[in-house]
Symmetry: C2
Subunit: 396 residues, 2 copies
């Protein structure tokens, strides 16, 4: 009774979400403390106290019909202005309120810009491994997502591979930096080279190729590493941001889309984005949360907490003989499967109550993803289970 | 630089939203108190105090990682269960939590069910006058919306017209009751006849025609009138609900989709809806608001306040010689234009700082819509302006 498109999806569904549901099932059987769930990017640290304080203050100070009411589809004017100024302070940009559209998370922002840009059959490129839901997002607008493998040694995008992949149909490139699932940060050097390729190819094909920066993990960068702000390197860049990870608000669906004046067709794109936000059913980003996050723009994530988790897990797994990629950002660890078929590795993990997501779910078999946005205690308790798993493979 | 589909929309845009922006512009020039803005369905009454109390209580009592975290894409299990039980108490239904999907408002719920049901080229029927955004919603999934005129005297749907309009391609019928823009409530008698037509036609074409009940105005029914709960009259009904109007929370984007077990293909539809909610970019309904509204299910709208507005405006306009349809529900008044081209009437109204929405925006020229979810005081102050407008037309 469901549509043909949905039939395929119900079959495939999301491996990540399936694992999340599996975690709930195992926890019911074995007790939550005996399940080591590394499946979902659901932040373990609570939102900074400033967030709930801001929510309470908004409720106390602002008229209810404003707090909970409709505003322009692009968001509250003052919130947009405040976000623009915050970005300008942090990145030396020159955005005004009109360059910001408040969105239902980064996913909502991506949908809005894809709806605005794509004609049926247009191609969108991204770098694998990648968040496979991108394929569904692009497919919603009858575009075609094509993934370009990153350099298998460094997990950095390969500019020459990008150059080879661009065609006359390429309308946009999605870059997720810091990267889910690898935890790698695309360096300034990489970004400059990618920008040069896109400039050259836009000129060659006589039409702009838009860069869509998907950046929910922007603030999660370790060891003092910088995450290049892409509008400064490439003119035709739109930024999709979410406070889901930085402020531990994934359930609230609050983020924004940056549409700089420098975009080819900026005025038209900005007007269309506001309409797209409405007609895709979002209408507007949740109002109370818009007002609350605008008061928390200087709040910082619990970076030291995630860093402690990162070190504990990375060092623990390394000692056991596993081969993890050292995460530079995000709260994901990308681990080489000890056997070629990582799905079997995931299954063996499950028999020790360890939940990991197979790399196939990111179009990159042979690896698994561990989300370490979990309690440090869970990581400690999981290491003996990993030790048993390592023993099964005869590691070390 | 934008897609072909969006180009058409940027040109057309929303007449309602354009009026909303126009209202902000006029208020800046003439002062808010001198603009009579009847354009937007943005509730004037604040949310019941219980809503903000519930938000504060949730923040105080529930762990932050739960309040603001991811949950299953369909919503918090306990919230879904609570909503189901509330519906069962009110309507004598027998829903379980699994029959409820928490959504980003009624618009989000409509998008989810349309995504689940529609193949390209499928037809969706609705009754004109109607919320024209339905056309965009259906178009998002490459369906075709066709509107059937209601009876021009009663503004009730005509079952025979429905029977004549159904084809082998008809996949769904959207019914908005109480109705935006007419303020009419489709009676039980009408509903029974529509259900009989759909039963007959489903059998004739050998495939179910789904009824999509869009019900954000359910609780806004005056003079003790009952709004039939459609799942009780027609098996293949999905209900799209929002607390936007009943609890004055339009900016928060919180509602639900009811998918009864009695639907043909219920199991498949329920599974697909959860995936659609995720892959359309909603991911899930805003988490804090899910938890808050679950504590406010017995809250009632300020019906007496809207009723006072309704009487004041209806009687005021009638006395001036206008011909309004007496609203039975919603907070809209449907007014016959004193000249055939209601767009000219809207323009003349604007010259008196009265903002109304042309019926053409609802595919029904010759009428205008006035949203009386405004202060009683604004209605009183607007009547002298309406008197001048009436004089221009030589009414009474």
């Amino acid at each position: 009774m469901i549509s043909e498109k949905m039939k395929k999806l119900v079959g495939g569904s999301s491996a990540i979400r399936a694992m999340f549901e599996e975690g709930k099932r195992l926890a019911a059987i074995y007790g939550r403390e005996n399940v080591y769930d590394y499946s979902l990017g659901n932040p373990n640290f609570p939102a900074p106290a400033a967030v709930n304080d801001a929510i309470r203050a908004v409720l106390d100070e602002v008229d209810s019909t404003v707090v909970h009411g409709y505003m322009s589809n692009a968001g509250f004017d003052d919130v947009r202005q405040t976000v623009a100024e915050s970005l300008n302070r942090r990145f030396g940009t020159a955005f005004a309120g009109k360059n910001i559209l408040m969105s239902v998370g980064a996913a909502g922002a991506l949908h809005v810009i894809l709806k605005v840009l794509l004609n049926p059959g247009d191609e969108v490129l991204t770098f694998a491994p990648y968040f496979v839901e991108y394929g569904n997002y692009v497919g919603n607008y009858d575009g075609v997502l094509r993934a370009i493998p990153v350099d298998a040694a460094t997990f950095q995008p390969d500019p020459e591979a990008l150059a080879a992949a661009v065609t006359a149909k390429t309308r946009a490139v999605i870059i997720n930096n810091p990267n889910n699932p690898t935890g790698v940060i695309y360096s300034e050097e990489t970004v400059k080279k990618l920008a040069a390729v896109l400039e050259r190819k836009s000129e060659e094909f006589g039409a702009p190729i838009y860069l869509l920066a998907d950046e929910p993990y922007r603030e999660l960068a370790y060891d003092g590493l910088e995450v290049p702000f892409l509008t400064k390197y490439y003119r035709n860049t739109a930024v999709c941001y979410s406070w889901s990870k930085s402020l531990s608000l994934p359930g609230e669906r609050i983020g924004y889309l940056v549409l700089p004046d420098e975009l080819d067709g900026a005025e038209e794109i900005i007007a269309a984005a506001s309409i797209a936000n409405r007609m895709l059913g979002f209408i507007n980003a949740p109002s109370l949360m818009q007002l609350a996050v605008a008061r928390c723009l200087d709040c910082e994530p619990n970076l030291s907490g995630y860093d402690a988790n990162r070190r504990l897990l990375y060092e623990g797994l390394t000692k056991l003989g596993f081969e993890p990629v050292k995460p530079q950002g995000t709260f994901y660890l990308w681990l080489k499967s000890p056997e070629p078929d990582e799905k079997k590795f995931v299954e063996k993990g499950k028999s020790h109550n360890i939940l990991m997501v197979a790399g196939s779910a990111f179009a990159w078999p042979g690896y698994v993803r561990l989300a370490y946005c979990v309690s440090e205690d869970m990581i400690r308790r999981s290491l003996p289970a990993f030790a048993k798993l390592a023993a099964e493979y005869g590691l070390k």
